[in-house]
């Protein structure tokens, strides 16, 4: 997804302005002229300047006929947007359910979905997904002592 520089510039200015505005809530310390707000404000000013330059540049490109926002070529290929969304959904899904389901189950499910979507041979999808998540769990949880969530397999592990 490629946006015109002016769009990006305006977005940057808005974000930076919000950041600078928020620094007004930072405390000032008596007897000290430079508090925690100074550095973020300088950065914000810098981003606003760059944003303005991007707006100028983007408007010039717009006059040359550039679209405000253009989707990448792959979005028009069948199935590709779904694949992209699926990868993101897997990550969001991990964040939401891994604590309750546990690492092994969640990881195996994600791997199975992605293997299937990327057209790994159907017979291999489940064995590969289960085996890999067990190996990763063994390596990180047993060898590296990372407290990966056990979830519903808690009683077995």
């Amino acid at each position: 997804m490629r946006a015109n520089d002016a769009v990006v510039g305006v977005l940057l200015i808005v974000i930076a302005a919000a950041m600078v505005a928020y620094t007004a809530t930072f405390p000032a310390f008596p007897g000290q002229r430079y508090g925690p707000a100074l550095f973020p404000r300088l950065l914000g000013a810098g981003i606003i300047l760059c944003g303005a330059a991007l707006v100028v540049r983007g408007l010039a490109a717009r006059r040359m006929g550039e679209a405000w926002i253009a989707a990448g070529d792959w979005t028009r290929e069948p199935g590709k947007p779904l694949t992209f969304a699926l990868v993101l959904a897997c990550l969001v899904g991990y964040i939401l359910v891994s604590e309750s389901l546990g690492f092994i189950v969640t990881a195996a499910a994600i791997l199975a979905v992605l293997f299937w979507r990327f057209q790994v041979r159907p017979l291999l999808v489940l064995p590969l997904a289960v085996a890999s998540s067990l190996v990763v769990h063994w390596f990180f949880a047993s060898l590296m002592r990372v407290p990966l969530p056990r979830g519903i397999l808690d009683s077995i592990l």
Binding site: L12, W74, A107, V146
Partner: protein
């Protein structure tokens, strides 16, 4: 020389040697797979090294990156796809050589002169770092402020195609770095009341997101299964290397020098080193018309340069805590985690660790000869690894790695947010490396800035009063002037084009 013998003992530990071998194999594989970069190899290694003592942790990173930068040359010649961006400069040239039936000569040259260039970079690192550290002992907050400012500015100006967008990335990185407890007054900024944000945006998950998740998102919509179509058989790769060395010894030297210098410049790493030394080689060649037709000369320059840049990048990282490239940016994060804060004091307090890094660098480069030979011989098998299995597995590694850094789901959230941000930014032509530099250097930069401001009571003149600070400050202002000049000229050029 007690420290040196202590370093030998540290490195000769069988555990360390095992780590070197394992990470070398890992680095070879990652480097040889198009789409997986040396920076990504480092990002994926860090969660594993987190649980190791300092020496094996650094050994893992040094060996993996050394191998990865060379291994990127293999698919460049065989598939016309650079394994890492550091090989992109001469990918077409290498492929043209392979098509002329000179695949063996090309791979042999790449291997041998990668080793030579790598050793050259290490030699400079060994000589220069302790000398610079002695000078750096006298630095005050003014010098560090300018050094960081100069480093960051150079990184943006040299290392990015579009300095304006590079500058935005850098500022965004610095801004993200201000999240958490502020270094001067101890006030929690931009935390919105969450405890997790108090310690700041977790650095390693952020980096895994920026470098690995964004790459996974890109490759998920460009999935083509395994790589095929390797032409020709690999024969004896070392045949004719002696003649190449006799003919192009000066190119090796020149490439290594350029590579080391560019590596040492903050922010510019192996990929830029390869592009510049290839261009220099063509510019001063006696037969520039042969470049692009499968001519060995430029490859000799560039393949020496990208490996020597690795050693060069460690110079500012160890001495000043300012990363020379995105790999050493990660290294600095690792050093802080191991309580070995980079800077001149490390050379006095823990010289054995520094010497151990030097020794491992030499060891890794020597090990590259046999391992590289093996990688070339088995390249066809490696390149047949199905990508549709590999990409989901890397995704899971990223998740577990990020989780391991914070021991909570917070790390995965940071990784995902930064991954999406990194993908969007790169789609729009904003480089992600400056974000990492800003994130790593932010706290040190702000701390030195605030200390200087408070010491001088707000007078900017004091920033230039000490001699070294004055020179560094002058240089920085000159770089900014150049940046502003280029930006204004670019804008007026655009206006002229649309008028």
């Amino acid at each position: 020389m007690d420290a040196l013998s202590a370093a030998f003992v540290l490195v000769a530990d069988p555990y360390v040697l095992w780590v070197v071998l394992a990470s070398s194999l890992f680095g070879m594989f990652v480097g040889a797979m198009p789409g997986l970069t040396a920076t990504m190899a480092t990002a994926l290694l860090v969660p594993v090294t987190f649980f190791m003592p300092p020496v094996p942790a650094l050994a893992a990173i040094v060996s993996a990156t050394t191998m990865a930068i060379f291994a990127g040359d293999i698919p460049a010649a065989m598939l016309r796809m650079p394994g890492t961006p550091a090989s992109a400069a001469y990918t077409d040239e290498s492929y043209a050589m392979a098509r002329k039936g000179q695949l063996d000569l090309n791979l042999g040259t790449n291997l041998v002169f990668s080793v030579v260039g790598g050793l050259f970079g290490v030699a400079v690192l060994i000589v220069a770092a302790p000398l610079l550290a002695e000078i750096a002992l006298n630095f005050s907050s003014y010098e560090y402020f300018w050094l960081a400012a100069l480093g960051l500015s150079c990184a943006v100006l040299i290392a990015t195609l579009d300095p304006l967008k590079g500058f935005v990335s850098l500022l965004l990185g610095l801004a993200i770095g201000t999240i958490g407890i502020d270094p001067a007054a101890g006030f929690p900024r931009f935390t919105f009341g969450t405890v997790e944000l108090m310690q700041g945006i977790s650095f390693i998950p952020a980096m895994i997101g920026l470098f690995a998740i964004s790459e996974i998102l890109r490759s998920s919509v460009a999935m083509e299964g395994g790589f095929e179509a390797v032409e020709g058989k690999v024969g004896s790769i070392f045949k004719g290397i002696g003649a190449v060395a006799r003919r192009y010894w000066f190119n090796v030297l020149r490439g290594s020098v350029i590579g080391t210098v560019i590596g040492a410049l903050p922010g510019a790493g192996a990929d830029i080193a390869a592009w510049i030394s290839y261009a220099v080689s063509k510019r001063f060649s006696k037969e520039p018309e042969k470049f692009g037709t499968g001519h060995l000369e430029g490859i000799v320059d560039a393949t020496s340069a990208n490996n020597s840049a690795l050693g060069g990048a460690w110079i500012p990282a160890l001495v000043f805590g300012i990363p020379g490239d995105s790999i050493t940016a990660i290294v600095i994060g690792v050093l802080y985690m191991k309580n070995m804060n980079p800077g001149p004091m490390v050379f006095i307090q823990n010289p054995q660790f520094i010497y151990a890094v030097f020794l491992i660098f030499i060891l890794a480069n020597l090990l590259m000869l046999p391992l590289g030979w093996a990688a070339i011989k088995s390249a066809k098998v490696i390149l047949r690894t199905p990508r549709n299995v590999l990409v989901p597995l890397i995704l899971i590694f990223c998740v577990v790695g990020s989780y391991a850094m914070t021991n909570s789901i917070y790390g995965v959230v940071v990784m995902l947010a930064m991954g999406i941000a990194g993908w969007l930014l790169e789609e729009n032509g904003f480089p992600v490396a400056p974000i990492i530099l800003g994130l790593v250097l932010g706290e040190m930069f702000e701390q030195n800035f605030m200390t200087s401001m408070i010491k001088s009571d707000g007078s900017f003149l004091a920033f230039f009063e000490r001699p070294i600070a004055g020179v560094l400050g002058g240089l920085t202002v000159a770089v900014w002037g150049l940046f502003a000049y280029k930006a204004v000229r670019g804008l007026s050029g655009l206006r002229a084009a649309t008028a």
